[in-house]
């Protein structure tokens, strides 16, 4: 009896008015002590549902409709609420995705730990405090005794996730279910947290189920992998086998969509297994309205030029200058983007990369410095027709496809708005024709024009954003983390689309991302940013093969190794 957890034929369904949705079907899984099982799949695949079903915390109206869950040889399905409560925390611990929201903001970390320890281990107050200190030290928090009195907001994201792990370990569980434990964290923190989980798993012989959408996480921590697709496990196996020699079509498609940091592809292979129907009907650019503003490639003026750019945010305002706290979000930044190239900016959160995008797009005004678009300075009076003209050539695609589209406007009006604003066509009929063509071109089809944003998935919304950006016939696109809210397969499709558009229209792109593999696949030159400054600016291949700056080396070293992918 070597298995810690054995799930047989588990079925989970959600009963709604519109019928029963089978969220998980015939799931079979085992976890042994000291083993990390990776449960991988894209959003909606049902992977979190399984984690919740094990400890009987399914959201209403979800319910387990069949199968068995054996934990240390005992059936734990169909137990009473009180019995389940003594299993949760004591024997099965759970780690949540977002450390910002997983802790009670109004209670000190110590109180939350002590409360949990008293409940799970039955210690008295004094012993529970000692134990809490031990736990915090165990997850790598310094000055644990002092930090007990701190509130969650006084910890950084990574430290908070350590506290969450300490809480999950408070009852000495034998099994840990980690639901996307690093998705909300920066790469460097991600590596530390994964190391910590792995180390705890080995030291204490814990069984770990790690639920994630990220193949990189799986590659760096899991021993075995189960791949989920639409509520079913399509393939289970050793991590090397699944990543190196996938058998199922879906697994193959999923792995081919993962951006690689070690080599550059021209484009991602066929990834249409997941979101079908995204076939493009490209328009003939050479004769179409859209192609008429194509940039003349002989011109060598930088598409975007940034000189000595500075911007500070006020953190705390005060009457006296010495009491003011300022954050130098962008600190003396210089670069030129050549026409037709894709220029990447990479950095961790807070490095100022998005601030630069917003400065160039004119959403912020710099304290100091110079920004020009195709040689035309765009600072100063924004009503100046020349500045307006230059600004029109530059459009932006935002990170969050859910909040960047007005939910009260239909797709026709969303895409037509910039055309109408700049009066780029001579008649309304022409505008409508062009919007239809644009929607065809980005792979949505002209028929969607009358629908509203909420009817679309994240990837489709991002296509709408792209169509909208194209509607002013821009020559420069700023993409601020355009795919970080999307699943890998959708990400691959969007990146392919951007690449095609760039080739067809000769676009210049400024591509901002925290994701090194994505940057490598898309960009020609890369600037690495840290604390508002550019540490290193180099050709992509140069940077990945031979980084010069310490920080670049550090960042590259943190990337999950995908050698297993062969």
């Amino acid at each position: 009896m070597s298995e810690l957890l054995k799930i047989t034929d588990l079925n989970v369904e959600f009963v709604t008015r519109r019928g029963t949705i089978k969220a998980a079907q015939d799931i079979n899984l085992t976890v042994a002590p000291g083993e990390v099982l990776g449960l991988v799949g894209e959003s909606g695949a049902g992977k979190s549902t399984i984690g919740n079903a094990i400890i009987d915390l399914l959201e209403h109206p979800g319910r387990v409709s069949g199968g068995s869950v054996l934990f240390q040889g005992e059936e734990i399905r169909g137990r009473s609420e009180a019995e389940m409560r003594s299993i949760r925390g004591d024997r099965i611990g759970m780690i949540f995705q977002d450390p910002q929201t997983a802790l009670n903001p109004l209670m000190t970390v110590g109180d939350q730990l002590v409360e949990t320890i008293i409940k799970t281990r039955g210690y008295d107050q004094k012993r529970a405090v000692e134990c809490a200190i031990e736990l915090l030290e165990g997850v790598g928090i310094d000055n644990a005794e002092l930090r007990l009195k701190a509130y969650p907001h006084q910890f950084s994201g990574g430290m908070r996730q350590r506290v969450v792990i300490a809480l999950a370990l408070a009852g000495k569980p034998e099994l840990i279910i980690a639901d996307e434990p690093t998705t909300a964290l920066d790469v460097s923190i991600q590596a530390q947290i994964l190391d910590l989980i792995k180390q705890l798993c080995e030291e204490r012989q814990l069984g770990v189920i790690i639920v994630t959408h990220d193949i990189g996480v799986i590659a760096s921590i899991a021993t075995r992998v189960a791949v989920m697709y639409r509520g079913k496990i399509v393939e289970t196996g050793d991590v090397a086998q699944i990543l190196g020699d996938p058998q199922h079509e879906y697994t193959k498609a999923l792995i081919s969509a993962v951006p690689r940091a070690d080599k550059k592809y021209h484009r991602f292979e066929a990834v249409d297994y997941i979101e079908g129907g995204a076939s493009r009907k490209p328009i003939d650019i050479a004769t179409h309205w859209l192609g008429k503003a194509r940039h003349q490639s002989e011109d060598e003026t930088p598409a975007v030029s940034v000189k000595n750019l500075d911007l500070s945010f006020t953190l705390q305002s005060a009457l006296l200058k010495k009491n003011r706290k300022m954050l130098r979000a962008v600190n003396n930044v210089n670069f030129d983007i050549k026409p037709g190239e894709t220029f990447g900016i990479v950095g961790e959160s807070g490095s100022g990369k998005s601030t630069i995008a917003r400065l160039i797009a004119g959403l912020y005004t710099p304290d100091r410095g110079e920004i020009s678009i195709q040689g035309q300075s765009v600072l100063g009076n924004q009503r100046d027709p020349q500045i307006k003209q230059a600004r029109r050539k530059l459009q932006m695609i935002f990170q969050d496809p859910y909040s960047s589209l007005n939910s009260r406007m239909n797709v026709m009006n969303i895409v037509a708005e910039p055309i109408r604003f700049y009066k780029l066509t001579s008649s309304e009929a022409e505008t409508r024709q062009i919007v239809g063509d644009l929607l065809d071109h980005v792979g949505l089809g002209a028929a969607v024009a009358n629908r509203y944003p909420h009817e679309f998935s994240g990837g489709q919304r991002q296509r709408i954003s792209i169509a909208r950006a194209l509607a002013t016939r821009p020559q420069i696109l700023i993409c601020d983390e355009p795919t970080s809210a999307l699943d890998v397969s959708i990400q691959a499709q969007i990146l392919n689309l951007l690449k095609d558009l760039q080739e067809d229209l000769g676009l210049t792109m400024l591509f901002i991302s925290h994701d090194l593999p994505v940057i490598r696949q898309t960009c020609d030159r890369i600037a690495v940013m840290r604390s508002g400054q550019i540490c290193e600016l180099a050709e992509t291949e140069e940077l990945f093969n031979n980084p010069q700056h310490e920080y670049s080396k550090h960042l590259l070293g943190l990337m999950p190794k995908l050698d297993l992918l062969g």
Binding site: I55, L57, R85, S86, I87, R88, G89, D90, G93, M94, F96, Q97, D98, T101, A102, L103, N104, P105, L106, M107, E115, T116, K119, T120, Y151, H153, V164, L167, A168, A170, G171, Q316
Partner: protein, 323 residues
């Protein structure tokens, strides 16, 4: 912290300056004060003499400065009707109003929060549903109708409680209380319930909505996943997180209670400042009206300052210094 209080005080002074200007303008725009003070048959010379005595011939700014400086020294003038200093009259009546507001605030807080938490957790039970539907009555019926209905049921029909007035008071010289005798409690109960109903409903619905939202958060799910008991989750984790918005509303509402007490005091003939104000309106007793205005404004300002300080006590994320 100190800077915060200083800034708040400065804002409060501005508010008080505006309110006192309004209060001052009452003297000049609501009837002729001299007419209100002297009989119909007073001679022209007598009127001129009083005008001179009251300084009504001075330029308006001079009068305003005099009004404010008198006010700062606690001198709100003399009631036209009762011929006594207004500050003394208000101080005499104040305990009655404050006790009424206090008791009804306690009723609405306790009942509102308990019922709000209950209906937030047991969303679909029949008790929750009946609490919610009956609470609608609290907001939709005007205060005076509720007051009259309560008088009809408990005083006229059942004869359990007195219908009006303030009985059983014990006098400490500077404060007359009705909270130390059974008779006093019997007389305060009906007006306090009447006054509390509106606030109670609001607090109930707010706590319920907040509670339902908090129950959906990750930290509640995480607390469940650690096996904490329902009681620890509901009262230890969820309730405190609902309190920040509740405190805001309570702060505004206690001010509202004082304002609403005008109606309740009239219905129950409760001898507080609200009743005094209504009577003053009847007789165009301008000094009392303007003093009441200033007095309510001061209370609002103080309550809001206390509420802002309370935020920081409840929520450690709010750093008062940065506010």
């Amino acid at each position: 912290m100190f800077a915060f209080i200083a800034r708040r005080l400065a804002q409060s002074i501005l508010v008080m300056a505006v309110v006192s200007a309004v209060a001052f303008s009452l003297f000049n725009f609501v009837g002729d004060p001299v007419n209100n003070m002297v009989g119909q048959d007073a001679t022209r010379e007598r009127r001129a003499e009083i005008r001179l005595q009251l300084g009504l011939d001075d330029p308006i700014p001079v009068q305003y400065v005099r009004f404010v400086s008198n006010m700062l020294q606690g001198d709100f003038g003399i009631s036209y009707r009762i011929k006594q200093p207004v500050d003394k009259l208000i101080l005499e009546r104040l305990p009655a109003t404050l006790e009424l507001v206090f008791v009804s605030a306690i009723i609405s807080l306790i009942v509102g929060i308990v019922a709000g938490v209950y209906t937030g957790i047991h969303r679909n039970s029949w008790i929750s549903r009946s609490i919610l539907s009956s609470s609608l009555i609290g907001v939709s019926l005007p205060t005076f109708i509720i007051g009259i209905a309560l008088i009809y049921i408990f005083a006229v029909h059942l004869r359990w409680l007195p219908s009006s007035g303030r009985a059983g008071t014990i006098d400490f010289g500077w404060w007359k209380t009705s909270l130390l005798s059974l008779e006093g409690w019997r007389s305060i109960l009906l007006p306090a319930i009447t006054l509390s109903l509106f606030q109670l409903t609001m607090i109930l619905r707010l706590v319920r909505a907040e509670m339902m939202e908090v129950m959906q958060t990750d930290f509640i799910k995480f607390a469940r996943a650690r096996g904490l008991s329902e009681r620890a989750i509901n009262y230890g984790h969820a309730l405190r997180n609902t309190l920040v918005p509740v405190i805001t509303i309570i702060g505004l509402n206690i001010g509202g209670l004082i304002a609403f007490s005008v109606i309740t005091e009239t219905v129950f003939q409760w001898p507080g400042t609200g009743l005094m104000f209504i009577q003053a309106v009847d007789f165009v007793d301008v000094p009392i009206m303007s003093a009441y205005l200033v007095f309510v404004a001061i209370l609002f300002v103080i309550i809001n300052l206390v509420v802002d300080l309370l935020y920081a006590a409840v929520d450690p994320r709010i750093r008062i210094g940065n506010a």
